[in-house]
């Protein structure tokens, strides 16, 4: 049924090692924004876990809440945001209860982040070498004398040619792909155990994207770093991730290992998303656009299942109740009438 | 053709702008007071601003004379109120003249670049080299000490300001997508500038215009302070301050300070108004 060929990432390199225990665990998290036009219920009952050595793809369209989730995880949410329920645990530490100081310690040392638009994320008036050294000094437990060498080594590890010279380069002198490699170096040089990448290759060329992701996968597998990759590109997630979490309008609608998700999607939205993706298709007519649009999250009268108004399999019960994906579930769907139901 | 909800939307947008930021509301209220004073000054002033009464000279503020009286016994409050018309008139004329000449020049310079830009920029640089008072005195010496010449002098001094802002804004927008769209729709280069680029310059310039108004009022007051343009007994804030300056040391502070405070309040309200104007004019801020 799926036209997207999940050429097993395993084919390209080592097979995904058996995942360890959950390093990051989000349980039943709800988040809202208070704006002057109403309260936006951006996340509702979201549960998600990432284990050591596992690459999890968080997939959704714009407005699905995936970036909001990512920032909430890191404690970097907008001031208007409020987490109204749930727990966010990193290695047993309650991130919601942590102080800003503790969070700062975690970010960079334990948790590495790669953001979209690398050029904007780098400080334009400092050389990339200095920026690497900043991170190393703060989180890397490296001696002052060794900083420069370690920075150059970090650049070499992300396949930047001529790292000695590039160490002194400013971000504007580098191409988009190289900037993103620098971002990855920054994220990984503190030897984190969790890597969060928010649309790291959006805006990059396809060939650069392939190279950057190959690099990330190689580094992440080598150190068994738990990775959360956020993307709107379903085909990308298919190629790259072990497990996929699909989000729609602030809900997690399905989570499954990659092969299972594309081979036999259970949530109608997942199926619709796959059907509207051009990758792997033969004719334009095969593309099925998804009817309707995202519901307005400020509404007071939102149905329990936010896909209700666009769903071809909607039941009356969907307006009132929905069983959300349980925390720690590896393969689950939040639907009253899933596909393939007995 | 436009959606029927256009007018109510404008009103609700106005209401939103006024209530979102209390400072805006204060500024608008003060501005309205100023406009009222300018429009109806002679009618709302409690006393005749020109009527002298030597027996009541230099009286401190009291129930009868809220701002006290000056050396000739004239009610200072009345003089302040009536002066609003002249001051605002001078400022508005100068700013309008300056904008009418400077903004198009700057926009053309920023949009077309090349030699147009170079010529206009050098012009602006030349004007900036002149201090206001020197230029004003030069013009007055050459062409006579009239109100019109004061307006012209202030307008000229302000030109580089508008040229620069318009030029910068036009420069940013010349590579915008909608400029290419306009060309595709069959606009000539001038058509693109006049119909698309220039209207989009207006919101950022509205802020500048309002700030400039405050500055223009100060300039008008400053010039009359040194005796150019407006002459006594015409009430004008600068003159009022000038007249009162000599009495500060002898303790009659109200003669200079109260008109000065009115002047300050007027300038202040224009500055605050700049942001509100920008919000009103920018369609993107409408929700």
């Amino acid at each position: 049924m799926s036209a997207v060929a999940t050429h097993a990432p395993a084919a390209a390199d080592d097979a995904a090692p058996a995942p360890g225990r959950a390093l990051l665990e989000m349980t039943d998290v709800s988040l809202e924004f208070r704006t002057r036009s109403g309260t936006v219920r951006a996340l509702q009952h979201v549960s998600l876990s990432v284990r050591r050595g596992e690459i999890v793809g968080l997939v959704g369209e714009s407005g699905s809440g995936k970036s909001v989730l990512c920032y909430a995880l890191l404690g970097l949410s907008d001031r208007a945001a409020r987490i109204t329920s749930g727990r966010i645990d990193y290695d047993g530490i309650d991130l919601r209860a942590a102080s800003e100081r503790e969070l700062q310690d975690l970010r960079g040392r334990e948790i590495g982040m790669v953001f979209q638009n690398p050029r904007a994320a780098l400080n334009p008036i400092r050389t990339i070498g200095r920026q690497l050294e900043d991170v190393l000094r703060r989180h890397g437990a490296v001696r002052r004398a060794d900083l420069r060498e370690r920075a150059i080594e970090a650049l070499r590890e992300v396949a930047i040619a001529d790292p000695q010279r590039r160490h002194r380069a400013y971000p504007f002198e580098l191409s988009g792909g190289m900037c993103q490699r620098v971002m990855i170096a920054l994220a990984l040089c503190g030897a984190p155990r969790l890597l969060i990448a928010d649309e790291p290759t959006t805006g990059l060329d396809v060939t650069t994207q392939a190279a950057v992701l190959a690099l990330v996968r190689e580094r992440v597998r080598a150190s068994r770093v738990a990775t959360l990759l956020i993307t709107h590109d379903l085909a990308l997630a298919a190629d790259f991730c072990d497990r996929i979490v699909v989000m729609h309008a602030g809900h997690v609608v399905e989570t499954a290992p990659t092969g299972a998700l594309f081979g036999a999607p259970r949530h109608p939205y997942t199926q619709a998303l796959i059907a509207s993706t051009p990758a792997g298709r033969d004719a334009l007519e095969e593309l099925r656009p998804i009817a309707g649009g995202l519901p307005d999250l400020r509404r007071e009268d939102l149905p329990a299942c936010r896909f209700l108004e666009r769903c071809p399999r909607a039941l009356p019960a969907c307006r009132d109740a929905l069983a959300h994906v349980a925390p720690g579930a590896a393969h689950a769907v939040a639907c009253n009438n899933p596909l393939g139901a007995p | 053709m436009p959606a029927s909800g256009a007018t109510p939307r404008r009103v609700s947008h106005l209401r939103y702008v006024l209530t979102e930021n209390p400072v805006t509301l204060v500024a608008v209220v003060m501005y309205c007071v100023l406009v009222l004073m300018a429009g109806f000054g002679p009618m709302i002033a409690p006393y005749d601003p020109l009527a002298t009464a030597p027996e009541r000279a230099l009286q401190p503020p009291s129930a009868a004379h809220w701002f006290g009286t000056d050396a000739l016994g004239r009610d200072i409050l009345s003089r302040c109120i009536v002066a609003a018309r002249l001051d605002l008139g001078l400022a508005v004329s100068a700013v309008a003249l300056s904008f009418a000449i400077g903004a198009p020049l700057g926009a053309a310079a920023g949009f077309f670049g090349g030699w147009a830009d170079r010529v206009v920029s050098r012009l602006a640089d030349t004007i900036m080299a002149f201090p206001l008072f020197v230029l004003a005195m030069g013009i007055v010496a050459a062409m006579g000490n009239t109100l019109a010449n004061i307006v012209i002098a202030t307008a000229i001094i302000n030109l580089p300001f508008y040229i620069r802002v318009a030029r910068a804004e036009a420069n940013v927008r010349r590579s915008a997508g909608f400029v290419e769209s306009a060309r595709l729709a069959g606009n000539s280069e001038w058509g693109v500038l006049v119909r698309h680029v220039f209207p989009n310059l207006l919101p950022p310039m509205a802020v500048q215009v309002s700030l400039n108004m405050g500055w223009a009022i100060l300039n008008a007051a400053g010039l009359s302070f040194i005796g150019l343009g407006v002459r006594p007994p015409t009430p004008e804030w600068g003159i009022l301050v000038a007249e009162g300056a000599q009495y500060i040391l002898s303790g009659e502070w109200w003669v200079a300070l109260l008109p000065g405070a009115v002047l300050m309040t007027a300038v202040f309200s224009f500055n605050l108004l700049g942001d509100a104007l920008r919000d009103l004019l920018d369609p993107r801020r409408r929700t």
Binding site: A5, H7, A11, A12, E61, S62, A161, G176, G177, M178, D205, V206, T207, A210, A211, H232, D233, L234, A235, L236, A238, D239, F240, A272, L273, S276, T277, P278, A279, G280, R281, A283, L284, L287, P289, I290, G293 | M1, P2, A3, G5, A6, G177, F178, E180, S181, A182, L184, A185, G186, N187, S188, E189, G191, H196, P199, N200, P283, R284, R286
Partner: protein
């Protein structure tokens, strides 16, 4: 709507090359001959030149949909703007409907009667719409400026209907419309003057995948119904594969491969095309990761292949010769490649 028939000796030759049984030769709508566009970096007569588009020759036939692919910096956007007559070529000719439009300066072309014949749809619909114009005004503008016959309001409503834009949205400003709606306004505006050639510069790149599907199907339908010719510029090969009959591949300002879309995608001739295709996610191929960085487009070596240094198949000769677009080794119809060692 169709212009006078244009002489096309080239088409007959091409039909012959395609072999017997090939489709009937189609009228050539636009031909670019040796098109180049260079930008001077800095000032002065000896300033280095950035070769954005270098010696490009191509033909667009009436009614066909041609994809132009390549990565950032390859010059496809510049080429699109050259063909849409928004910028002027440094060298070369553009012949449209039999007339040499390359010789007319862009600013004169804008006010000429021919502006209506070639239109462009932009990548970022938000950026391409004047924030102070309602959707109606934006769509109506070409009709007003070009003084098109008929009632402007009726024309606008008709084309808005065709692109699926509800009439109650016409009074809205761009920031009050969704991404998909803005895209439709951009398309409606381009269609308003009834062009023969529509250049689309990554029109769906900024859209969500579900909206993208709708817009792509809309574009396909419009082409069928109106008999339009498309030049579809995109970095997304999946989309090009679905929408285009023929594809042109650009690299560093030059065309490196040309051919029917299916054929090129199934069996790319140029090593760059092969690498590009393999890098598409979800394609089922392991990506061929290209080493190194792209060569500089500033004052490139005129006698070396631009892909040399990154090319997995490169050899010494590639550094001494600049390959031209010519028929593939196997002489496949309609296919050309600029490579000393093409794969096909």
């Amino acid at each position: 709507m169709s212009g006078e028939p244009s002489p096309d000796v080239g088409v007959a030759a091409e039909a012959a090359a395609r072999g017997p049984g090939a489709a009937l030769p189609r009228e050539v709508l636009l031909e670019a001959i040796g098109l180049s566009r260079r930008f001077a970096i800095g000032s002065g007569r000896r300033a280095p030149q950035l070769h954005a588009v270098d010696d490009v020759s191509l033909r667009l036939h009436r009614g066909e949909s041609v994809g132009l692919v390549g990565e950032s910096g390859c010059g496809k956007s510049t080429l699109a703007r050259l063909l849409a007559r928004l910028i002027d070529p440094t060298e070369g000719a553009i012949v449209f409907e039999g007339r040499d439009v390359g010789a007319i300066r862009a600013r004169d072309f804008a006010v000429s009667g021919q502006r209506a014949r070639i239109q462009l749809v932009f990548q970022d619909a938000t950026d391409s719409l004047d924030p102070r114009q309602t959707a109606f005004e934006a769509i109506a503008e070409p009709a007003v400026r070009m003084r098109l016959p008929g009632d402007v309001a009726a024309r606008v409503r008709r084309v808005a209907d065709e692109v699926g834009l509800p009439s109650e949205l016409l009074g809205r400003y761009p920031h009050q419309l969704s991404g998909g709606q803005r895209a439709r306004v951009g398309i409606a505006r381009a269609l308003c003057p009834e062009p023969a050639l529509l250049v689309l510069d990554e029109p769906t790149a900024a859209l969500d995948v579900s909206v993208q599907a709708v817009v792509l199907q809309l574009l396909a339908r419009l082409r069928r119904e109106r008999g339009l010719t498309y030049l579809f510029v995109s970095h997304d090969l999946n989309v090009v594969r679905l929408l285009c009959d023929r594809v042109l591949v650009m690299y560093l300002g030059r065309l490196v491969e040309e051919g029917p879309a299916r054929a090129v995608f199934d069996a790319p001739a140029h090593p760059y095309t092969a690498a590009l295709l393999s890098a598409i996610p979800g394609g089922g191929r392991a990506p061929e990761v290209l080493p190194g960085e792209v060569r500089s487009p500033i004052d490139p070596d005129p006698s070396a292949c631009r892909f040399h240094g990154r090319c997995p198949a490169g050899e010494a000769a590639c550094g001494r010769t600049l390959p031209q677009l010519e028929a593939t080794r196997a002489g496949l119809p309609g296919r050309r490649v600029a490579c000393l060692k093409p794969r096909v």
